[in-house]
């Protein structure tokens, strides 16, 4: 459901999600993202995430449940990371972020 790669040099946590991010998939995904994010934070300078960029790659995503949107909101609200971006949305998925009003509170490409 999610493939998470951490680039220590660039200080980027890159999360690539699967096609169908429904409520059930989102439960596991939330846990995975949280675990890897915390690991990445700890490995940063001084154990902080001040320069950590989190990128959600939705290139393969065709459907997102409200539970997945909540994961995006949770990460976007974190004060302990440098930034959060959602990338490679197809137009339908971009529309969902717009309906939810999230295009005003997070960077979405």
């Amino acid at each position: 459901m999610v493939q998470i790669d951490y680039d220590d040099e660039k200080r980027e946590l890159h999360c690539r999600f699967g096609e169908h991010m429904d409520s059930v998939a989102s439960i596991d995904v939330a846990r995975c993202v949280d675990e890897r994010l915390n690991e990445a934070l700890q490995s940063g300078p001084g154990g902080t995430g001040k320069d950590l960029q989190v990128i959600f790659d939705l290139g393969k995503v065709e459907y997102i449940a409200s539970a997945f949107l909540r994961i995006c909101i949770t990460v976007a609200k974190r004060q302990d990371i440098e930034g959060f971006t959602v990338v490679k949305c197809n137009p339908s998925v971009k529309k969902i972020f717009s309906i939810a009003g999230l295009d005003k509170v997070m960077a979405i490409d």
């Binding site: 409520s23 409200s66 949107l69 909540r70 339908s92 529309k95 969902i96 939810a100």
Partner: protein, 476 residues
């Protein structure tokens, strides 16, 4: 942020996320959810009805079961096969394709008189159109409305609906209601309630579909079947103890049929109050501060009303009749009273009787419903022409008739529009079709006449409308 704003904000965030998820559902997926909710609501029809009566202390539980049946079985019957998702129509001749779009979160205000049926109804039509709903119960019926919402929500979730597609307020307040109504993310308000609430909805800045008060006049023509009319009228007026806004408020006839109708009503358990008794009933039925009906008698049995008024009535009385002469504030019972109390008018002529109906119609019931019992098509057409009503029911119990589905082909609804007279946007029985934004994709189909016409001619002031229209419409 205040606590009220926190509550509203949290629920609105959930509703908006649910709307985003719902937007992705196709017709099949949507319909599966609607069917599940219908089944769950229908199965709970009796327990919810009992709960509603127990909680509010008004109405008749058996009739509330029927209201729940109307709100589930009949509403579902109307919407089951309705296309509400994706492409609705495609006409390649006109080049126009119509596509359904959901509106977004909908705020549904629920009246005390129909706490479970209106909840069930609004949930079904909102889910059918992929709109998350936030239920705002009346404070006196929060338990039963909330329970109806909970039952529907569990069924919806089990069928794959988005989380928080149905939410309900458990601890309401005027401030909370106002906050929701004016939230920028609220797409629509379905305001079924009193005039004040409907006005607040329309003033909130959010689009609203509201209702108006009813003061339903029933004209009984000389051509009517009198025993039949009496039976139907009382079946309607006693339905849930008169709590349906479309129930009859006054019966009007010519004096030539007065005695026959009185006999017919008495045969159905009607009791005609004496002038002194009318005054006593006025005293408890009407709130002297507002000159409107008192909440204390809404949905009460005749025996209870008599007890409150300090009068004696025969056992088994089904409804109280107050014979009046005029319509207006000087006759308080000529206004809307949601209880088994009917004003009774006998007029010297057909014209006077119909004028009396017009007066009743315009005394607080514009745009709602009017009723006629007649077997004279000309009289039916004349009466219908003269009434300012969204529904004119003919030889039909008005309460059940206006709600629709049992005695006629009107869409079954628990939100009856009253048009501009009631300060509403429509006179229709509200249903799923009113909760869709229709997107029209228009392909190029040019207007030949426009492109063949020399439009500079419009700039020539000397050319008259006839000259231009002849030229515009010429066959060439």
């Amino acid at each position: 942020m205040t606590e009220v704003q926190d509550v509203a904000n949290e629920m609105m965030v959930q509703a908006v996320l649910a709307a985003a998820e719902f937007d992705q559902f196709d017709q099949d997926r949507t319909d599966k959810i609607v069917e599940a909710v219908f089944r769950a609501g229908f199965d709970a029809r009796v327990s919810l009805a009992r709960m509603a009566v127990e909680e509010t202390g008004l109405g008749v539980w058996q009739h509330k079961v029927l209201k729940n049946v109307l709100a589930t079985q009949f509403v579902y019957g109307n919407i089951e096969h309705e296309k509400t998702v994706g492409e609705l129509s495609r006409d390649m001749k006109t080049g126009i394709v119509e596509i359904a779009q959901p509106m977004g979160p909908i705020f549904a205000i629920i009246p005390m008189t129909n706490p479970t049926s209106t909840t069930l109804f609004k949930i079904l039509i909102c889910l059918k159109t992929r709109n998350p709903i936030i239920i705002s119960p009346h404070h006196r019926a929060a338990g039963s409305s909330g329970e109806a919402a909970r039952i529907c929500y569990e069924a919806a979730l089990a069928a794959g609906a988005p989380e928080h597609c149905i939410q309900w307020i458990t601890k309401g307040s005027r401030e909370l209601t106002r906050t929701f109504m004016s939230d920028p993310n609220m797409a629509m308000i379905l305001a079924t309630g009193g005039t004040g609430l409907v006005t607040a909805a329309y003033s909130s800045g959010t689009p609203a579909i509201g209702v108006g008060p009813g003061n339903v006049p029933v004209f009984i023509d000389r051509s009517a079947d009198f025993p039949f009319a009496a039976k139907q009228i009382l079946a309607s007026k006693t339905f849930d103890n008169g709590t349906v806004c479309a129930s009859e408020q006054a019966v009007v006839m010519e004096t030539s049929v007065e005695e026959e109708m009185k006999t017919a009503f008495r045969n159905e358990g009607g009791y005609f109050l004496t002038p002194e008794e009318i005054k006593k009933v006025e005293g408890i039925a009407i709130n002297p501060e507002t000159n409107g009906m008192s909440a204390d008698i809404v949905g009460q049995f005749p025996a209870k009303i008599a007890q409150m008024a300090g009068i004696s009535i025969p056992e088994g009385t089904t409804a109280l009749f107050a014979q009046l002469d005029t319509v207006g504030p000087e006759e308080p019972l000529s206004g809307e009273v949601l209880a088994p109390i009917l004003a009774f008018y006998a007029k010297d002529s057909y014209e006077d009787a119909v004028k009396c109906c017009i007066s009743l119609n315009y005394r607080g019931g514009i745009g709602h419903t009017a009723s006629i019992y007649a077997n004279d098509e000309e009289r039916i057409d004349q009466f219908a022409e003269l009434m300012n009503a969204g529904r004119v029911v003919v030889n039909i119990p008005s309460a059940q008739g206006a709600v629709g589905g049992i005695f006629n082909s009107l869409l079954t609804s628990f939100t009856l529009g009253c048009g501009s007279g009631g300060k509403n946007i429509t006179t229709e029985n509200i249903s799923a079709r009113h909760l869709i934004n229709i997107k029209r994709v228009c392909r190029r189909r040019i207007n030949d006449r426009w492109f063949a016409f020399d439009t500079d001619k419009y700039l020539d002031e000397a050319l008259t409308v006839d000259t231009i229209m002849n030229d515009y419409n010429r066959n060439f």
